[in-house]
């Protein structure tokens, strides 16, 4: 039985599958606060649609890499300089642009966006 640990704190060295599992959990699950006090735009939670587009790329990359090298292929790069490539301060929260970007990244963008705009649950 293959048991993959999740000790990313001391230095990421996990398999690509484990990275995807972690991304899925941190990005899609966990406690959700209702919309009154969280950051929203016209009642739609702005959970960084660009993040989801990037996640799509990560999953595709992980699948491709794991096909040729099943372990240790994709690593969480904590050594990267903080803020490198960070578009957060570049006004990337424009939802229309996000949706266009998303459509370019993922063929099933419509379904993906539809899932994203569901109301926050308590």
């Amino acid at each position: 039985m293959n048991i993959v640990g999740t000790d990313w704190e001391s230095g990421p060295s996990s398999s690509s599958d484990a990275v995807v599992e972690l991304l899925d959990r941190v990005l899609n699950r966990g406690v959700v606060l209702y919309a009154d006090i969280v950051i929203t735009l016209a009642g739609v939670p702005l959970v960084g649609l660009n993040l989801r587009a990037a996640l799509g790329s990560i999953e595709a990359m992980a699948r491709a890499v794991s096909a040729v090298a099943p372990t240790d292929s994709v690593r969480l790069d904590e050594s990267a300089p903080r803020g490198s490539g960070d578009a957060r301060s570049e006004g990337s929260a424009d939802s229309e642009q996000d949706e266009r970007d998303l459509g370019a990244e993922r063929p099933n963008a419509a379904a993906f966006v539809a899932e994203e705009v569901r109301p926050w649950s308590r």
Partner: protein, 260 residues
């Protein structure tokens, strides 16, 4: 863009715990932000002050780093607290005319206190594991080949006299083979799923994703278990690998992201 304290009017939230438990004295969050704790109604939230907008990037490396940093904070808290409720990524509380972000978060904790405390009690001492099982491709192919050989031999001994009847006969054989494989997959799923249910407090069935074309996925679940339950589950899953020829992959332990 330089950030000033005036810009940092929102709170990025990592997780929640009971206030009477211990927690990390110091933790670094996203982009090195200092994580602080905030308490209300016997509950504690871990958060850092940030700009009132979501973290967003098209750079996969940046996203991965943020996710790792979020997970690291939650894990550090989880190691010291009896139970933790992880917040989903980009949970950012904003301020308003009726109070700043910390006041909003405190109000939320007060309002949600009974529910959050119930959840924390149920999660105490438990971890999340992701469990996937696949058909071992070699034994899977052997099984198919054996079945095909048997069907071929049957076809030879019962060869029909006309081409039309031969076609119908062949279709029936194909359908039989498909049904046999489907039935086997169903049985194997049940065989793999039962010990997970038996050795976990909660199970969440996920979409099964095949690792490759010759290794079909049978089952993909997340389960919530104590360390003792997981030890028993590991023994059962290892026995399944030997007996049924399936391949089991376990990822974890995670803080209970899927069970909050």
């Amino acid at each position: 863009m330089n950030q000033t304290s005036a810009d940092l009017t929102a709170l990025y939230v990592y997780c929640f715990t009971e206030a009477d438990g211990s927690g990390p004295a110091h933790a670094e969050g996203l982009d090195g932000a200092e994580v602080a704790s905030l308490e209300a109604k016997d509950l504690r939230a871990y958060a850092h002050w940030c700009e009132p907008r979501p973290y967003a990037s098209e750079d996969a490396d940046v996203v991965k780093r943020w996710v790792a940093e979020h997970h690291r904070v939650v894990s550090e808290v989880w190691r010291q607290a009896d139970a933790v409720l992880p917040a989903t990524f980009n949970t950012i509380v904003q301020g308003g005319e009726d109070g700043d972000a910390s006041a909003h978060l405190e109000n939320w904790l007060e309002q949600e206190s009974p529910r959050l405390k119930d959840q924390l009690r149920l999660l105490a001492g438990r971890s999340e594991y992701g469990i996937q099982t696949f058909w071992d491709s070699a034994s899977y192919e052997r099984e198919i080949a054996d079945t095909q050989r048997r069907l071929e031999s049957e076809r030879e001994s019962n060869r029909p006299s006309s081409r039309g009847l031969a076609y119908l006969h062949q279709q029936r054989l194909k359908r039989g083979l498909h049904e046999q494989i489907t039935s086997r997959a169903r049985d194997l799923f049940k065989t793999c799923y039962e010990p997970v249910v038996r050795c976990s407090d909660r199970v969440r069935v996920e979409e099964a994703k095949s690792a490759s074309s010759d290794s079909p996925a049978l089952m993909n679940v997340s389960c919530l278990a104590t360390s003792e339950q997981f030890r028993r589950l590991s023994v059962e899953l290892e026995a399944l690998e030997t007996k049924e020829g399936v391949c089991v992959r376990v990822v974890g332990p995670f803080p209970p992201y899927s069970f909050v």
